[in-house]
């Protein structure tokens, strides 16, 4: 028996369990594909703010007021940007898909609000304002557009949030912010936001917390707290606190690990499970079997042994430099570690990899796997690339990380679904030629799927036009 026969077989294997990989996997599973996610570790959800940032800054507009409107300008200024390749309508559809999918999987009452039409400006723990398009229910009241008199509350027990500095910088932005500190009954001095989030789910502890907090509040109509308002029951905790304090309450993201990010990941995991997908965490892809450029299978080490995963399609959502999926060695050579794919965005060997200004965009910022216009790897036509592994973006300077992850994850799922067509295992159980549950499964709309084979927009130069042509 050859190793290929021993492999686990799927319709698609997704590498990476960040927002992009989970999106691709959920959408594929919703469309009826047998899908497996292999992830070495958790993705950026646990590090990030838990918001869906679509577009926060472009040349000449910082902060961006409406991502929807500014996407076209970005596309013409940066034709290699993932958004330019996917088109603005894909972004809008991805956000809608996300809001629906999340609502179906998250605990009752906890969801995302907002849309790509307008960025909210949310306070950071430093007291700066950060643009986000979609934000969790627990952060919505922090939008600067509605902030007038606000109390920023913290506790000395939490080293990752400093209300004094936050409030002072908010005042500089014209918000009447005041810092308050309360003491907490905790059994350790170095409490984390996660620890407090768990305690706040205990009604008695929460009541005591609110009594202390209420006692130091003044005329403020809103209260900003570090992002720790419950982990599994955030909506109930928020509602109860707002009722007790008689004020709107909102969360401000703190240093990692991110409580809102954990809520996001948990909901995505539930959605994947509900759709019938498989998630293998702690599985490092250690090799691939290739034939004529195509990837036939990958080997992953997990639980002390190596397993082969065979599929006609792979989605590489392994992240970029930060995830270690793209690596730079001591001689300045960059390499894609998972499948050994070619890269784009690496300057010639003689050029510096970084510049001395910490606040400037680094020359290596936009490195990613070289892809064609369908976002398939140039070196491997059955590998679709999604998320931070895509070249051409600078996620946190442009404030576009989650938007790119969602849009490219959904893009990859549509492409793979369309390509699988009748070969999809699940499809074999239903009528050939059409995707099962097309009507029932939101988001995977047969009329809006990237077409198989060559890209119809190959010759198109207008990026805004590309999506239109693709949709036909």
């Amino acid at each position: 028996m050859s190793w290929a026969d021993a492999a686990r077989r799927f319709d698609a294997v997704v590498i990476g369990a960040g927002t992009a990989g989970m999106t691709a996997a959920i959408a594929l599973a919703q469309a009826g594909a047998r899908v497996c996610v292999l992830a070495f570790g958790l993705g950026s959800t646990h590090l990030a703010a838990g918001t869906i940032d679509v577009l926060g800054a472009i040349d000449g507009e910082d902060p961006v007021r409406s991502p929807q409107r500014s996407l076209a300008r970005l596309a013409s200024a940066r034709p290699d940007h993932p958004y330019a390749l996917m088109g603005a309508s894909t972004v809008a559809e991805a956000l809608a898909w996300f809001a629906r999918t999340f609502a179906g999987a998250a605990p009752r009452g906890y969801g995302y609000v907002g849309d790509a039409g307008r960025n909210m400006m949310l306070p950071t723990a430093l007291g700066t304002l950060r643009p986000s398009a979609l934000v969790p229910t627990t952060m919505a009241a922090g939008d600067a557009a509605g902030l007038d008199r606000v109390a920023i509350a913290g506790t000395p027990a939490l080293r990752d949030f400093h209300p004094g500095l936050c409030a002072a910088n908010l005042r500089d932005a014209g918000i009447r912010a005041r810092a308050v500190q309360i003491q907490l009954d905790l059994d350790r001095a170095d409490a984390s936001a996660l620890g407090v989030a768990r305690r706040l789910e205990e009604p008695a502890w929460r009541a005591a917390f609110c009594r202390r907090l209420g006692a130091v509040l003044g005329a403020e109509d809103r209260v900003g707290l570090p992002a720790m308002i419950g982990l599994h029951q955030a909506a109930q905790v928020l509602a109860d606190m707002e009722q007790r304090l008689q004020r709107r309450v909102f969360e401000i993201p703190t240093l990692p690990p991110s409580v809102p990010g954990m809520r996001l990941f948990e909901a995505l995991r539930r959605a994947l499970r509900a759709a019938g997908g498989t998630l293998v965490l702690g599985a490092e892809v250690s090799g691939a079997e290739r034939s004529g450029g195509r990837v036939l299978s990958v080997a992953a080490r997990s639980a002390g042994r190596q397993t082969r995963y065979r599929a006609p399609w792979f989605v590489l959502a392994s992240g970029g430099l930060g995830a270690g999926a793209i690596e730079l060695d001591s001689r300045g050579r960059a390499r894609e570690r998972v499948l050994g794919l070619g890269l784009r965005g690496v300057a010639p060997a003689s050029a510096p990899r970084f510049v001395e200004d910490f606040f400037a965009e680094q020359p290596l910022a936009r490195v990613g796997v070289a892809v064609d216009e369908r976002l398939c790897a140039q070196d491997a036509p059955n590998v679709v690339v999604a998320g931070a592994a895509l070249p051409g973006q600078a996620p946190w300077l442009e404030g576009c990380g989650e938007g790119v992850a969602l849009a490219s994850g959904l893009w990859a799922a549509r492409l793979v679904s369309a390509e699988l067509g009748g070969r999809c295992q699940a499809t074999q159980r239903s009528s050939p030629g059409s995707m099962p549950g097309d009507a029932a499964k939101p988001g995977i709309d047969a009329t809006r799927r990237p077409s198989p084979g060559s890209m119809p927009g190959d010759t198109a130069t207008e990026s805004g036009d590309r999506c239109q042509r693709m949709e036909r």
Partner: protein, 527 residues
């Protein structure tokens, strides 16, 4: 303008200047020490941490070797708490001339440097990462020394005896009346000036000593800045100081200091003592040499690189040999120079002490204060060879596990810097005592932000505490935060690769992505 009256004014708060202040204060002199920046921010703090046994110099520079071993023995007593007794190894690698080992052993014997040859197998057992192809190994009494702790201990000891230590006071002018120096005018960070009248002024400005002498109208104090880079790894690759057994050259020392190991150094003459350039070819050289000492060095996590500028006293020879300025500086003596300007230039009340090495700082200070006492016509014997520094009275050496032991004993304390185990109470105390609002000064004092994450997690926390406890305005806190991020990045980016790049991306993610530091008020517009 305020005014101060003192016996001795010391210009320069590096190891030498702090040593002079400590020595003079112990002799009962009134002392004022000034530095334009923080203590040990210049050459002293940009150093690999090696307390020489003298073995490095036994063949080429026996006088320097004898000074080193004598001072090594004294500092182990009086600065015990600043020194980790790592011991040192000299190893012959396949790239080193095997003949040198014989010269080396003979030189150690001749100059009184304790040296014992051990089996290569034993050397490899004690340092398993060393290149297994070494052919000989010698044990010598090298050690590592925490220079910030040493300088602060000397400054504290001087202060306890009445000295004024004025960091962040920049020299504006040296006051001179005829052939006598009367003191200096300095300016603090707010722009306020202070006139310091001194009976004797000591120029301990190291690589900047020539410039200071010029302010006193004295020419020809030729101090050539010898620029060298050093690179720190994220943990210790060795626990013993490891030297190549060969004539001193670039990248031939690996020093375990505190939580890291440091490979050093390169050596290039420069025109400007403030030159902090890091050339890619120098980085390459250190990595290649590191690979010879410890195979796999190129795959180690490199935290950062920095540049130190050695003060190389060139006497008056530089005037004759101008052409040598482009070359290597290893052929210029590492010995120190004491210039009594009363004898040398007919300018009384002014003494320059420069050149030398950190290991000989105490001797340099002693000679400078001896010269000052001669000029004052006072008999005041030196006590620095017997009087322990504050924090060193127990005679106990530093140990790597000290901070961990402390942390384990005080579990109720909040850690602000997890890499370097800095508790909140240390940070609050440092902020309350600080002469400036500079987070970088706090770093030198506590090692805050010096570990693998290079401030990624602790600097937001420290800024918040600086704002609250230090009652600092938000604008100043923001400026300090931004400056600290830029200062950390300065050392990170020229050697950034491998896993440290992942860390750097996480730090960028925190500051740009989560905290939107680029959107701070008064911040420069992003491009």
């Amino acid at each position: 303008m305020g005014a101060l009256e003192t016996d001795l004014l010391v210009i320069g708060g590096g190891a030498t200047g702090a040593g002079v202040a400590w020595d003079a204060a112990l002799r009962g002199l009134r002392v004022v020490l000034v530095d334009r920046h923080d203590l040990a921010e210049g050459t002293s703090g940009r150093f690999h941490g090696l307390l020489h046994s003298g073995a490095r110099y036994v063949v080429q520079d026996p006088a320097a070797a004898r000074d080193c071993i004598a001072e090594n023995r004294i500092l182990r007593r009086v600065a015990a708490g600043c020194i980790e007794d790592t011991g040192g190894l000299f190893v012959t690698t396949p790239w080193d001339d095997p003949q040198y080992a014989e010269l080396f052993a003979a030189g150690c014997a001749r100059n009184g440097v304790d040296c014992e040859e051990i089996d290569v197998a034993r050397a490899l057992r004690s340092e398993p990462r060393l290149n297994p192809r070494i052919s000989r190994a010698f044990v010598v009494p090298d050690a590592s020394i925490d220079v910030w702790k040493t300088v602060r201990a000397m400054a504290r000891g001087a202060r306890e005896r009445g000295a004024r230590v004025l960091a962040h006071h920049e020299l504006v002018a040296i006051e001179r009346a005829g052939d006598r120096v009367l003191g200096a005018v300095v300016r603090d960070g707010r722009g306020d000036e202070l006139r310091i009248h001194a009976r004797i002024t000591v120029n301990a400005a190291g690589a900047w000593a020539g410039r200071v002498a010029l302010l006193a109208g004295i020419e020809g104090v030729r101090v050539l800045p010898g620029r060298g880079i050093m690179i720190a790894t994220n943990h210790r690759l060795v626990n013993t100081v490891v030297n190549r057994c060969k004539p001193p050259a670039d990248g031939d020392i690996l020093v375990p200091i505190r939580t890291v190991s440091v490979i050093g150094s390169t050596d290039r003459l420069t025109d400007d003592p403030d030159d902090q350039t890091v050339h890619p070819d120098e980085v390459k050289l250190l990595l290649d040499e590191g690979e010879r000492l410890v195979p796999g060095f190129r795959r180690a996590r490199l935290l950062r690189v920095w540049t130190g500028v050695r003060p190389l006293f060139d006497g008056d020879r530089a005037q004759e040999e101008g052409g040598r300025r482009d070359g290597e500086s290893r052929d210029i003596t590492r010995a120190h120079a004491l210039l009594d300007h009363g004898l040398r230039d007919g300018v009384a009340g002014f003494v320059t002490i420069t050149g030398g090495k950190l290991t000989t700082l105490r001797l340099m200070a002693q000679q400078a204060v001896d010269a000052a006492c001669r000029q004052l016509g006072e008999q005041r014997p030196c006590h620095t060879d017997t009087e322990p520094l504050p924090g060193s009275r127990s005679g106990r050496h530093l140990a790597l596990g000290d901070r961990l032991a402390r942390k384990e004993a005080a579990r109720e304390e909040q850690l602000i810097c997890e890499c370097e185990l800095v508790p909140r109470s240390w940070l609050e105390l440092a902020i309350r005592q600080a002469a400036s609002s500079d987070l970088d000064d706090v770093r030198r004092q506590l090692r805050l932000g010096m570990g693998p994450c290079q401030g990624g997690f602790c600097i937001y926390r420290a800024a918040g505490i600086l704002h609250e406890v230090g009652e600092l305005a938000a604008a100043e806190t923001n400026a300090s935060l931004r400056a600290f991020l830029q200062e950390r990045w300065k050392g990170v980016w020229p050697v950034l690769h491998g896993d440290q790049l992942r860390q750097a991306r996480l730090d960028e993610w925190i500051f740009h992505g989560l905290l939107a530091v680029g959107r701070l008020p008064a911040g420069e517009a992003r491009t």
